[in-house]
């Protein structure tokens, strides 16, 4: 074996090095700093006497309010994911199986078009629809169907509506690729063997599209639990989620340590989900765990 060739870095490694360094600098370093800040009594850069402490985590565990905030965040994330999946799956299936190129292009444009507008603008659009003086309530009241405005905003439902609208394209685009790669002849074979179209879908297409369902759900859930603008605007500050609490701690309480601890909790929730996803994907694809 040529020892020179063995020690020489290969070209691909050198090619990856800049992006790896960038990733380390702007991803791992900030997370590491956040983890350190979460167990310190202050900022060591600007404060002379700083010690290790667990008080931020003790405070979080000791007060049921924070646990309720964590559960509210997770609940909104789960409901958003399920609704986005329910809306996104049929659309993705249609996009993946449509024969017409024009039809596919039109559907793709329909899915992508909302993403060309900023999240703030889209959320404000929902506010004009859902507020007490919004289009929905004013229309219903002018038709005499209701006498008092329906409480469509400042509720978890309002937040979920806004988040689903924003994140459905992520679900659709993830699912379309996976469903598009499923061989249609498998469904046809199932039907030739006597299965109804529904059974063929349930027993062939759906299991084969599970990796897409899991990937899309993971993406939407992670985005939904870390959303800030939509929960603030459509929740009217009456629905407290982790990102809102983190912002409050930074901007108004100037408690960077506690904000960092809350950030770590948000990160841990996301990581647990990734691990669960990995295991679930391994199980459905016949492996114990993805390597």
């Amino acid at each position: 074996m040529n020892s020179t060739a063995a020690t020489r870095p290969n070209g691909l490694a050198l090619f990856i090095l800049p992006s790896a360094l960038l990733f380390a600098l702007f991803f791992f370093l900030p997370i590491g700093l956040m983890a350190v800040m979460s167990v310190l009594t202050g900022n060591p850069v600007v404060m002379p006497k700083v010690a290790f402490t667990t008080r931020h985590y003790v405070r979080m565990i000791g007060d049921p309010f924070y646990l309720e905030v964590i559960w509210t965040t997770v609940r909104i994330g789960l409901v958003t994911t399920l609704v986005a999946l329910a809306i996104g799956y049929p659309l993705a299936h249609w996009m993946a199986r449509i024969k017409s190129r024009t039809g596919h292009a039109l559907l793709l444009m329909a899915v992508l078009a909302p993403m060309l507008t900023g999240i703030v603008v889209r959320t404000f659009a929902w506010m004009t629809l859902l507020s007490d003086k919004g289009v929905v309530n004013e229309t219903l009241m002018s038709l005499g169907l209701i006498s008092q405005p329906l409480k469509l905003m400042y509720t978890e439902t309002g937040i979920v509506v806004g988040l689903v609208h924003i994140y459905v394209p992520f679900m659709v685009l993830t699912l379309t690729g996976v469903i598009g790669r499923i061989d249609e002849r498998l469904e046809q074979a199932a039907e030739n063997l006597g299965a109804s179209p529904l059974r063929a879908f349930l027993e062939v297409t759906l299991p084969l599209s599970l990796p897409g369902i899991l990937a899309g759900s993971l993406l939407v859930f992670a985005l939904a639990i870390s959303a800030y603008v939509t929960p603030i605007l459509l929740g009217g500050f009456q629905i407290m989620t982790l990102p809102i609490l983190i912002y409050q701690q930074i901007s108004a309480n100037f408690n960077v340590g506690f904000a960092a601890a809350l950030g770590i909790v948000l990160l841990v929730i996301s990581l647990l989900l990734v691990v669960a996803y990995n295991r679930a994907l391994g199980l459905v694809s016949g492996q114990r765990e993805l390597q």
Binding site: K133, Y154, M240
Partner: protein
């Protein structure tokens, strides 16, 4: 004898192009490198517009410097993260509650030296009272804002806000992040308890305010009031008066129990390398002509006693010792010491 230039190689071309590019980008900065830069904070909107168009350039011209304004709120976390010896700002402009928090963290100098800021001698006592760190250059009156087209009448007291007829159209603030909300909480203690510090009475009163629509900034409240989404709310006078002449069906009510003070406070950071310029800026902002121009643009009550506003503004703003005496100042030092506890409680109260 001149050395002849060699043929233009690719390396030489790239070097020359890069040098030219960097030189072009850097030229304006190099040209202004001699001008000292004063880094300040400031609001956006009408305040930001007039500061950028008139007040700021006039200061730059007179003091031969550059003003670098950060109007991207929140300022205090940025100052908190910067080095004490080289702070991100020289002059901090915020509301009083944040200035107290900054003082407690040692991020600002608690007092302005009257020898270095001569105009300090002309301000109303509230502007440099023991409830203020630095100096309050303007104040707004926090009271009640209401729609005038909904048949609401006879509103004279803070307690009118609790009237059941405002259920569904009542407006307030996210107390943990908003000065008006925090000041209002203290007022609740006065209205229904033993005084500003009676938190239990304040919490009980806030509980009875529900249903209420809450926002984080006064600008959002202004929009909700203008759209009719809110009919009665806590707001500062400037948030109503700035729409003067636009025929908006809104009005400001000064409650009989007094109006709360929303101060615009300037302080200087201890590590500033531009102390002289920073003091000059504070003094400049207290000049009668600067105060008049800003007051008549954004409807803030000037802190300088010598300012003579036009009749329209004089009639509504706090421009005499008698009017100023109606102002109720909040003990922000006391409040900030209990902020975490208060935030946890009010977050629970206003949770849907």
């Amino acid at each position: 004898m001149m050395k002849a230039l060699g043929p233009l190689s690719r390396r030489r071309f790239l070097t020359a192009s890069a040098s030219l590019g960097i030189g072009t980008i850097a030229a304006p900065y190099v040209a202004r490198a001699d001008d000292p830069t004063l880094r300040i904070t400031g609001w956006g909107g009408k305040w930001g517009d007039i500061m950028k168009a008139e007040i700021g350039p006039a200061f730059e011209s007179e003091f031969k410097c550059k003003l670098q304004t950060d109007s991207a709120f929140p300022y205090l976390p940025k100052l908190q993260a910067s080095s004490r010896s080289a702070p991100i700002y020289d002059v901090l402009h915020t509301n009083s509650n944040e200035q107290w928090a900054a003082a407690e963290m040692g991020l600002i100098e608690p007092k302005i030296d009257p020898k270095l800021v001569p105009n300090l001698a002309d301000v109303y006592p509230y502007a440099i009272s023991d409830k203020i760190v630095g100096v309050s250059i303007f104040t707004s009156a926090i009271g009640l804002g209401m729609r005038t087209d909904k048949g609401y009448s006879g509103v004279t007291s803070w307690k009118d806000l609790w009237d059941a007829k405002y259920n569904g159209v009542r407006g307030g603030y996210v107390i943990p992040v908003n000065s008006l909300g925090q000041a209002f909480l203290m007022m609740c203690g006065t209205l229904f308890g033993k005084g500003q510090t009676d938190l239990d009475a304040a919490y009980a009163a806030l509980e009875k305010l529900k249903p209420i629509k809450i926002v984080d900034f006064t600008g959002a409240m202004e929009k909700m009031l203008l759209s009719g989404e809110v009919g009665m709310c806590v707001i500062h006078d400037s948030g109503i008066y700035r729409y003067d002449g636009q025929n908006q069906p809104t009005d400001f009510v000064s409650p009989s129990e007094g109006v709360l003070s929303l101060e615009q406070v300037l302080t200087i950071t201890p590590g500033s390398k531009m102390k002289e310029l920073a003091n000059a800026y504070v003094n400049y902002m207290l000049r009668p002509e600067v105060q008049k121009r800003l007051a008549e643009t954004v409807w803030y009550s000037p802190a300088n006693k010598k300012v003579k506003l036009d009749a329209k503004y004089d009639a509504k703003l706090l421009t005499t010792p008698e009017k100023v005496s109606k102002l109720i100042q909040v003990d922000w030092k006391w409040y900030n010491e209990r902020k975490d506890e208060i935030d946890q409680r009010v977050n629970r109260i206003f949770r849907a």
